[in-house]
């Protein structure tokens, strides 16, 4: 926990410096008769973030905040395995949307999750895998008129578009 607190504060401090540097692309100074320039608002806020990180680091060194006192592990193996699996599955799902679209990627993710993390029966899983895309299509594409990304499966939807739109 102590190590995690330190790493998080350091990473955020670096991020603050990056934000400060990025803000200087616009004037950060005081424009007479007008007030601060376009970059000033984010620049000084990022400076404030950096100061907060320094305060967090100070608290860490003096062991003042609860996470900096705790010797518990930040994440035990079981948690790492679970959260890791879910996060990687999510990343793969979102990545796959670019290629095969929502209607293939999301049901696959749900099937994976329900089978490998939930150990549910294939019958239950298949009902979700079939129903989800149908409901999604009618709600978002037909009712809301928001086209969802379909990747290479786009052409399979042409007849559906003709039918409902």
């Amino acid at each position: 926990m102590r190590l995690a607190e330190l790493i998080m504060a350091l990473v955020m401090a670096v991020f603050s410096v990056y934000l400060m540097w990025k803000s200087t692309e616009l004037p950060i100074g005081w424009i007479p008769e007008e007030g601060p320039g376009g970059g000033a608002f984010p620049f000084w806020l990022a400076t404030g973030m950096l100061l907060c990180c320094i305060a967090i680091l100070y608290n860490w060194a003096r062991r003042l905040s609860p996470p900096s006192q705790s010797d518990d592990v930040f994440m035990d193996n079981e948690t790492v395995r679970l959260i890791g699996t879910v996060t990687i599955a999510l990343t793969v799902m979102i990545g796959a949307i670019h290629f095969v679209g929502v209607y293939v990627s999301v049901p696959l993710f749900m099937a994976f999750y329900m089978r490998f993390l939930g150990r549910h029966s294939w019958r239950l899983i298949s009902s979700f895998v079939v129903l989800t895309p149908i409901i999604t299509f009618f709600f978002f594409e037909i009712a809301l008129k928001k086209t969802l990304p379909k990747g290479m499966t786009e052409e399979f939807f042409y007849p559906l578009y003709d039918m409902f739109m």
Binding site: S23, E34, C52, V86, Y113, K146
Partner: protein, 502 residues
């Protein structure tokens, strides 16, 4: 009397078939969301907001308001049946609700929670109806400096009253504000903070991306970690005779209910405070003023009634500053406020002038949502208990899918979906380290209003910073804000030694 006339018109709008249907549907959905461990009103509103583009703005806000209410009722169900709070707002309900359930009196606790929620909700809506129009009238005189001062006060309450680690709270506020500055600079129109030159940053970071990331993805990861252990569910036997008997016992606690309602309402108005501390305070007061305070924590129905009345009252209370001043009183209302901006409704006192049908329709629908949530809750207690048996491994993938699609819909840009995943994951890690995340969500919603308010004030005053302090209303608010900011420092004074917080 003008208020009654306007309220009457509001009921006309709330009882239009579409809106009434949405109130009932929203209250039901809210009850389910609230009943599920780990999900509360803020998660429901964040994840479902993109779905409401289907209906006109007034109906959409009515629907989300009903979810907000329903979730406040529903939170008690898992607190009582599982001993796990359905949301942080229902933590205090576990103290006595769980012991009651273990004694086989789950139905008493559940009915008590529902009735108290109704009382809290109703009293607070009445207070709301009375307070909102005069406050909006005062607020009409506000210019950019006052607006900016109000936002400073909203952020200062997080520092002064939030009770979290102060540097981490400030960090959360500032990172939210910086993210809100991404996109085009509103005054000069120049591109700003376009990270790595990605075109997706030109349209800015939509507050929903952060809200769904934190309250959808991040919350689910958190719940997956926390809910690994086995939970045991209590049995509830429900019958009409037992319900009537329970009602008699509950009505004897009317004083506690009324105390909880008033307390919750006024605590709810403060940004950063909201329903969770409101319900804890109500519990504390109920316990300390009770004749048999020893029975609290062992299954006293007054210990269920007080926090439940308070958390519902607080949810209404937090809408007061949102509608009249444009400052949200809770994370949920922050998301509602962001939604209103998307729908083209400028939050703030002008709503009461320009969009009367919206404001009064919403207020009237809160009365209706309260009523229906009570009826649905009591009538379908067994159905909501069944929800608790739904395995999380079915629920979680559905919610993840909703988050991904919901994150895509507002801007129709995959860039936002990736950003949402990153926010969710980093937010989860930060939450484990006690970083409060609600201030960041509030900040990203308020940032686009706060920055122009500040810069317009300065342009108006030819760059004179004192403009925030010399105008009477703005100066007073600023003084309160500074006092709140300094409040944590006062804590150290009585000990006679100075511990620098920074």
């Amino acid at each position: 009397m003008e208020i009654l006339y306007l309220l009457g018109n509001g009921f006309g709008i709330a009882f239009e078939p579409l809106n009434l249907g949405l109130v009932i549907f929203g209250a039901t959905v809210g009850l389910f969301i609230g009943a599920m461990p780990g999900l509360g009103s803020v998660n429901g509103v964040a994840i479902l907001l993109p779905m409401t583009f289907l209906v006109p703005p007034t109906s959409a806000v009515i629907f989300l308001g009903a979810i907000y209410y329903g979730a406040m009722y529903g939170g008690a169900i898992s607190s009582i049946m599982l001993g796990i709070p359905g949301a942080s707002t229902a933590v205090a309900t576990t103290f006595d609700g769980r012991p009651l359930a273990l004694q086989g009196k789950a139905d008493l606790a559940l009915v008590g929670a529902a009735v108290a929620s109704f009382v809290g909700g109703t009293i607070s809506v009445v207070l709301f109806t009375a307070f909102a129009p005069p406050l909006a009238e005062v607020a009409l005189a506000f210019g950019p400096p006052e607006e900016f001062a109000l936002m400073m006060m909203a952020f200062a309450t997080f520092v002064g009253l939030g009770g979290d680690d102060i540097p981490k709270t400030l960090f959360s506020i500032m990172i939210g504000l910086v993210f809100s500055a991404v996109g085009l600079d509103i005054i000069s129109g120049e591109p700003r903070l376009i990270f790595m030159g990605l075109p997706g940053f030109f349209h800015g970071i939509n507050f929903l991306v952060l809200a769904i990331g934190i309250y959808g993805i991040g919350e689910m990861l958190w719940t997956i970690e926390v809910s690994r252990g086995n939970v045991t569910m209590s049995k509830a036997s429900v019958s009409i005779a037992r319900t009537i008997d329970a009602l008699k016992q509950i009505l004897r606690t009317w004083k506690t209910m009324i105390m909880g309602s008033f307390l919750g309402y006024f605590v709810g108005i403060l940004p950063a405070a909201g329903a969770t501390p409101g319900s804890l305070m109500a519990y504390g007061i109920a316990k300390s003023t009770s004749k048999d305070s020893d029975s609290f924590g062992k299954g006293n129905v007054a210990g269920v009634v007080a926090p439940e009345a308070a958390n519902n009252a607080a949810s209404t209370g937090s809408m007061l500053p949102m509608l009249t001043l444009g400052i949200p009183g809770s994370p949920t209302t922050a998301i509602l406020l962001g939604g209103m901006v998307i729908w083209g409704l400028e939050p703030g006192p002008l709503l009461f002038v320009d969009h009367q049908e919206f404001v009064w329709g919403l207020i009237a629908s809160l009365y209706a949502a309260n009523f229906f949530a009570l009826i649905i809750n009591i009538a379908f207690i067994p159905a909501f208990i069944a929800v608790l048996k739904l395995p999380f491994t079915i629920l979680a993938p559905i919610i993840f899918a909703l988050c991904v699609i919901g994150g895509y819909v507002p801007t129709q840009d995959m860039h936002d979906v990736w950003l949402m995943l990153i926010f969710g994951f980093v937010g989860y890690l930060m939450r484990k380290l006690d970083y409060p995340l609600a201030p960041a969500v509030l900040a990203i919603v308020l940032g686009p209003i706060a920055e122009p308010a500040m810069r317009q004030s300065l342009i108006g005053a030819q760059g004179d910073v004192m403009t925030f302090f010399t105008r009477p209303i703005s100066g007073t608010i600023m003084a309160i804000a500074i006092l709140l900011l300094l409040m944590p420092a006062f804590k150290y004074l009585p000990f006679g030694r100075k511990k620098e917080a920074k």
